[in-house]
């Protein structure tokens, strides 16, 4: 009776000891060293996994920082304090990048930009762009079906009522750049957050055609280029494009005859110059 009870206990006990010993040996010889800093850096990163840094999520970027000496300032959403801490951890100098925000280079929503026909298809920008741009006369302008707003991980983009124009809230934007890729008309550009005067048009047609399509389109009169002596604005074909080297002067807003140049994000001008309010 006692042996019946004792034998299994002994056998199982022996197996347990053996396995424990094996594990102890394996832990010693098969040990993989993982830098504890990776976990720390991962904790300091925002954890949005937006992919804006070019790596597959925050953990992957943390690994790259520690193991491959990737620059510590690639994460746009990262707070300045966290950046300092990560840089201190890695023993490198913290170089803050200027905050960039997304900007929709179009101001011609449904109120100011003409639609030639009615669209009854999928309420989605890519599909609308396939069928003559859903009737929007301007071949370059914002279609207004909100692909950018849907992809934004922090709800920084909203579609304006009445005009159906995408508008970025610069304070909320984390500069991940997902909206830039989502726009089938390539209207969104990342610009420095410190700039407040923008040329809000992407129409490359001749002025006469632009004028037929939209009230606030760039007609290539070049008045803005002359007003700033070619500093900061250059012409790309029939379109004036800001190169965002130095902030543009707010005076340009009054220079532009088409009201294409707008001031945004300062106290002087309301943060969201809605078309609905002015029209």
């Amino acid at each position: 009776m006692t042996t019946d009870l004792l034998m299994p206990v002994l056998v199982l006990g022996a197996i347990g000891c053996l396995c424990g010993l094996l594990l102890a040996v394996a832990a010693r010889f098969l040990h993989v060293f993982e830098d504890p800093r990776i976990e720390k850096v991962t904790g300091l990163l925002p954890g949005a996994n937006c992919g804006g840094c070019g790596y597959a999520g925050c953990a992957d970027y943390a690994k790259a920082i520690v193991e491959k000496n990737a620059p510590t300032n690639l994460c746009r959403p990262c707070r300045a304090a966290a950046l300092l801490e990560i840089s201190a951890l890695m023993g490198v100098e913290a170089k803050t990048l200027e905050k960039m925000v997304a900007l929709v280079l179009c101001n011609g929503g449904d109120v100011r930009s003409r639609r030639a026909s009615m669209y009854n298809g999928l309420a989605e920008c890519t599909s609308a762009d396939m069928v003559s741009g859903s009737g929007k006369v301007c071949r370059y302008g914002c279609l207004g079906y909100g692909n950018c707003a849907r992809i934004c991980p922090v709800n920084a983009i909203r579609m304006m009522p009445d005009s159906n124009l995408a508008l970025v809230d610069a304070d909320r934007c984390i500069s991940c750049g997902l909206c830039v890729k989502a726009c089938p008309r390539k209207l969104i550009r990342m610009v420095p957050a410190s700039h407040h005067v923008h040329i809000l048009c992407s129409n490359r047609d001749r002025g006469i055609l632009t004028r037929k399509a939209c009230e606030v389109g760039c007609i290539a009169c070049q008045k803005c280029v002359k007003a700033c002596n070619g500093q900061g604005i250059h012409m790309e074909g029939n379109l004036a494009v800001a190169d965002y080297t130095a902030p543009l002067s707010p005076d340009l807003v009054n220079v532009c005859p088409q009201k294409t140049i707008n001031q945004r994000g300062t106290e002087a001008a309301p943060a969201a110059p809605g078309e609905g309010a002015s029209a």
């Binding site: 030639a116 026909s117 009854n120 298809g121 999928l122 989605e124 890519t126 599909s127 396939m130 069928v131 003559s132 741009g133 009737g135 071949r139 047609d205």
Partner: protein, 454 residues
């Protein structure tokens, strides 16, 4: 010449109202050349052609004005004689802007064809004939616009045993091919002979839907003394019978593997209008500068089958047919199933424009779409045996790997699923979006791999 019935039944099809009665009996009318034509540079599949003329140049009828760029591309010719007014960006019927060559017609039609007539074409070899077809700028005139000279030179090792002439014309409203077969049957037979000569003598099947008995009769007469293995096949009337893959299946019972070409199963499909264009190019030395287009719909005052110059603006075609009878509704380039809705009538017709359809507002009811009710009607209607309901839900939920696994790329965008859906879901749009996104993901993946290697 005896007519036989097509032996195989499609896995799925629909039966819309055909509405062909308003133009089916109308003989072809030659439309006078308009004052201005705009020749689009992308009226075919593949890369747009490169203009060879500039503003102010004087061109003659049939002169080469644009050359192909790259392998899959086609040349374009002046369809009137006159002065080039501009080479500029313009509207196209496909919905995307393209470069157009605008020619002001001088009304003289000074001939200046880039081609020579070859009455003795039988002495030429296949390669020489294919180069004539390429020089004439001939593309598939059924709708897709695939350059014909590429189709006619199958990759080595692939033998074409059957040439199918597509006269199905399964799109409702359109009667362009039907009138062509009735009035141009002899030219069609000559074109078929040239194609047969190029391909080394395959058997010939002329496929016509059985709702066009007049066309079948006309061809039976024209092909009465035909030599070799030639048959007229009458197809059951169903949509999309005239699609390439469906036509090959119903005639030969051969399924084209996913991503493969008809040449892989030994078949080749050419539209009947393409065959006539080949005859005109080879035997008469005329490049492709005109085509038959059906202008129809309840909104057109005087529906007609027109022989019109390529580059004629839709507004000119409609004006020649007496204009609209009422308030504007929907203007479609092509048929109602696969045609492209237009935002205006300023776009010029191209080599693939087989019809203009104008519908009044009451015929284009706007529906609210509702969620899928899982009835499976689209699965039964799909001629490609896909699962449109599952695929479209996958597109909506952004499950692109699942969508790719369900062969979304095999969708031919025929519209049967949208036609039968009781919930009025925008099926074709979702399928098209799915295709576009899967293709984009594949391209990005390829680029990434290339970047890693390089």
């Amino acid at each position: 010449m005896k007519t036989v019935k097509a032996p195989f039944k499609l896995p799925g099809s629909i039966h819309p109202h055909y509405h062909k009665e308003s133009t089916a009996a109308l003989p072809l009318e030659v439309m006078p050349a308009p004052a201005v034509v705009q020749i689009p540079m992308s009226q075919h599949l593949g890369a747009p052609s490169k203009p060879l003329v500039a503003k102010g140049d004087i061109v003659s009828l049939g002169q080469l004005i644009a050359e192909p760029v790259g392998f899959v591309s086609a040349s374009a010719h002046a369809s009137v004689s006159g002065v080039v007014r501009a080479v500029t960006e313009g509207a196209s019927t496909a919905g995307k802007a393209t470069t157009v060559i605008e020619i002001e017609n001088d009304g003289q039609d000074r001939p200046g064809s880039a081609l020579l007539p070859h009455a003795d074409w039988e002495t030429l070899d296949g390669k020489a004939l294919v180069s004539i077809v390429a020089a004439a700028g001939i593309v598939g005139m059924g709708g897709a616009g695939f350059p014909t000279h590429i189709k006619l030179s199958p990759p080595p090792g692939k033998k074409i045993d059957t040439l199918i002439l597509n006269g199905a014309e399964c799109e409702p409203f359109l009667t362009a091919d039907q009138r062509l077969m009735i009035e141009n049957a002899d030219a069609l037979w000559q074109g078929i002979r040239i194609l047969r000569h190029i391909l080394g003598g395959p058997r010939i099947r002329v496929a016509i839907e059985d709702n066009k008995p007049e066309a079948i009769q006309a061809l039976e007469k024209a092909l009465a003394k035909a030599d070799g293995d030639v048959e007229i096949v009458s197809l059951a009337t169903a949509y999309p019978m005239g699609a390439e893959k469906q036509l090959i299946y119903s005639l030969l019972g051969r399924e084209i593997p996913s991503g493969a070409l008809p040449a892989d199963v030994g078949a080749l499909v050419e539209n009947v209008a393409t065959a006539v264009a080949v005859y005109e190019a080879v035997a008469l030395g005329q490049p492709l500068t005109r085509r038959i287009v059906t202008v129809t719909g309840p909104l057109i005052k005087r529906p007609a089958n027109l022989m019109a110059r390529i580059g004629t603006r839709l507004s000119d075609l409609i004006a020649f047919c007496g204009g609209f009878t009422g308030d504007s509704g929907k203007l479609i380039c092509g048929g109602p199933m696969m045609g492209v809705a237009q935002v205006g009538s300023e776009a010029p017709m191209g080599k693939t424009t087989s019809g203009i359809l104008a519908l009044p507002r009451r015929d284009v009811a706007l529906y609210e779409s509702a969620p899928c009710i899982g009835c499976n009607r689209c699965v039964r209607a799909c001629p490609m045996s896909l699962l449109p309901c599952t695929i479209t839900m996958g597109v909506e939920a952004d499950q692109m790997e699942m969508v790719e696994g369900l062969s979304v790329l095999d969708c031919i965008e025929c519209g049967c699923c949208s036609f039968v859906c009781p919930a009025r879901r925008p099926m074709v749009q979702l399928m098209r979006q799915g295709k576009a996104r899967v293709q984009l993901a594949r391209r990005q993946k390829q680029e990434k791999e290339k970047g890693k290697q390089g």
